[in-house]
Amino acid sequence: MMQLLWNGLIVGSFYALVALGYSMVYGIIKLLNFAHGDIYMLGAFVAFFTLNSFGIEGSSSIPLLLVMLLLAMVTTGLIGVGIERVAYRPLRKSPRLAVLITAIGVSFTLEYGVRSLFGANPEAFPIRFASHGFELAGMRITGAQVTLVIIAAVLMLVLAHVVERTRAGRAMRAIALDTQGSQLMGINVNRTIAVVFFIGSALAGAAGVMAGAYYGSIDFLMGFIIGLKAFTAAVIGGIGNLYGAMLGGLVLGMLESFGSAWFGGEWRDVFSFAFLILFLTFKPTGLLGARVVERM
């Protein structure tokens, strides 16, 4: 029982980090960025490429991981900004469907771009979290898992601080409420949206590096399923709501953990996507979301 909770928390932290970007982008420009999961994949490959170029292998040092984390965050953040500039901004005034289709196009471009660069085979990630397990309150916990949860928590705290306490954060919230009104008040909308894309993509990139170091295997399609799961988490939590995304990620992690324990591993995805449908049917605003006028 406690073990299931802990397992759920680990997976949930990945989902939460990726869901944050989904939710922020949706909150500010009402776009479901289906390429977001592939940014997660890019994060893992940026670190993989860097480590490979320096010939680092089999290491498990935390400082090295943090450096890789930072590097991947900056890179994927910039890529996110670039994607917004090239693929989404020109279409901002177009029908929602056009942007949605573009997002899927971007997703394919990233996936098969990485495939042509790195090949289709899964690659072993060069650095690994050290994994010494210990027992606590009926749970088996490894050092890797603790590190993972701490990094995820720190990233989320920093994000909450940025959104709640900084000027940029205030601008984001203003644009989310009323884009044209904010423009009239002198807020640089384009720049703020770029910042949102930077932060969201950086978080996804960080999650990708952590997944690489935790699970140890990366491939060009690794972002697809987690993208869908993060979307589900964002919906469960209330899409557009930051704390909703964190909560949704954790809830989805728990649901999967308990679902696969009760029904068997093959039912895990059935179970979590059934919950997506239930939420969309009965509580489309999610757990923490406010009612928004549907513009899609």
Partner: protein, 394 residues
């Protein structure tokens, strides 16, 4: 099978396949039109091979193609069959049913005489009726699900031992080492489910207990559910019948969760990447059931050297089986004195102790080999490669 995103990959691949078909139709228009028979009697004898060159199993495609090509080159150097050269035609099956069916249709229109391909059972199965109705015998090098022969098609022959024979080897190993309780984990693909089921049945029949069987979805990273279950039930050995990517993750996560038993893997997981993904220190108790590869055989040095000269890379899993498949097909065509379906099938059935890498080959009435040739392999901690641990003889 590829990941959950198979549908999207498939779309792309269909598009790619369509483009390919269009492109080739454009340049071969004159030949494809009429007298297939007339041209096939004089021109080279075409052997078709469907193998994965894209998708999660794409590494195996090149191993198979190069192995087959080596056999074709050797046979051609010896003058071919009755003065006719052999030609290998390769198509990408991507380990995906839709893509493989399109590839099979393409091979049929190209006028192949024998199919010497088939890696993933799940994508090989739907191609069988296509080859069967086109009267093309199939010598399948890698795929080995029992379902391939269950349909009872007359032209299906398996070079690799079946799931049943592989499971037999696994049970034999368990009995030999005194293991009493075993569990199975499969990845829900045809090959994997088949092997797990067959193993569980034979294990029970042999008096072992099977406390649980479990299934996971391939393409995910988190397998903590099955890891927790293994740690709780602590069977003495678990048989993982899926592919190496998930296998590496599961052995690591199960060990972290506190599972202490042995980890036996099926031939789909026997790859050097397994140890890389699992990580150092996680592979001490990993063993596999496998048909022998050239590096495990004594006296295969010349073969390996020839292969390297052709491919510019080391041979890998199913290089030898593909090499053998071509030689088996060629021998049958030679014995049949032509490429007529019934005669070639009779030729294949008539093979007696044909020399292959996995031992002398004779086909049973079902088209499987009379002896499986499976051995137990283990991971060499220094290199991460699978090496021979027990040949299960005696």
């Amino acid at each position: 099978m590829p990941h959950g995103s198979g549908r999207r990959m498939r779309l792309l691949q269909i598009a790619a396949a369509a483009a390919l078909v269009l492109a080739t139709a454009g340049c071969s228009g004159g030949l494809a039109g009429g007298g297939d028979k007339a041209s096939s009697d004089a021109g080279p004898i075409k052997l078709g091979m469907i193998a994965p060159f894209s998708g999660s199993e794409s590494a195996f495609g090149d191993y198979m193609k190069n192995g087959a090509q080596l056999a074709v080159d050797e046979l051609n150097a010896d003058g071919g069959i009755d003065g006719r050269k052999l030609e290998l035609v390769v198509e990408d099956g991507a380990c995906d049913a839709t893509t493989a069916v399109a590839a099979a249709n393409k091979l049929v229109t190209e006028g192949i005489s024998v199919s010497v391909g088939g890696y993933c059972s799940g994508s090989t199965l739907p191609t069988l009726p296509i080859f069967d109705s086109a009267k093309i015998p199939m010598v399948i090098p890698a795929a080995n699900s029992n379902k391939l022969v269950d349909a009872g098609l007359p032209g299906v022959f398996l070079i690799n031992g079946t799931g049943t024979q592989q499971a037999q080897a696994a049970v034999k190993y368990a009995q030999k080492t005194g293991i009493k309780s075993v569990a199975t984990v499969d990845d829900s693909t045809a090959y994997s489910v088949d092997l797990a089921k067959s193993f569980a049945e034979q294990a029970k029949a042999a008096g072992l207990t099977v406390p649980f069987t479990s299934t996971v979805t391939p393409g995910e990273s988190d397998y903590s559910a099955v890891a927790t279950q293994l740690a709780k039930q602590q069977p003495e050995m678990v048989y993982w019948t899926g592919y190496y990517q998930e296998g590496g993750l599961i052995v690591r996560q199960a060990t972290d969760a506190g599972f202490k038993g042995e980890f036996l893997v099926g031939d789909g997981s026997v790859d050097a990447k397994f140890a890389q993904i699992a990580g150092k220190g996680y592979t001490d108790k990993v063993l596999g059931t496998f048909t022998q590869t050239p590096d495990m055989l004594t006296g295969a040095d010349t073969w390996i050297a020839d292969y390297k000269k052709l491919a510019g890379a080391e041979p890998g899993p199913y290089s030898t089986q593909s090499y053998d498949a071509v030689r088996v097909a060629a021998q049958a065509i030679k014995d049949a004195g032509g490429t007529d379906f019934d005669k070639v099938v009779a030729g294949l059935k008539g093979l007696k102790d044909f020399k292959t890498f996995a031992g002398p080959l004779t086909f049973t009435d079902q088209g499987t080999r009379t002896s499986g040739g499976f051995v137990i392999v283990k991971i060499d901690p220094a290199t991460g490669n699978f090496v021979l641990a027990d040949d299960l003889q005696g």
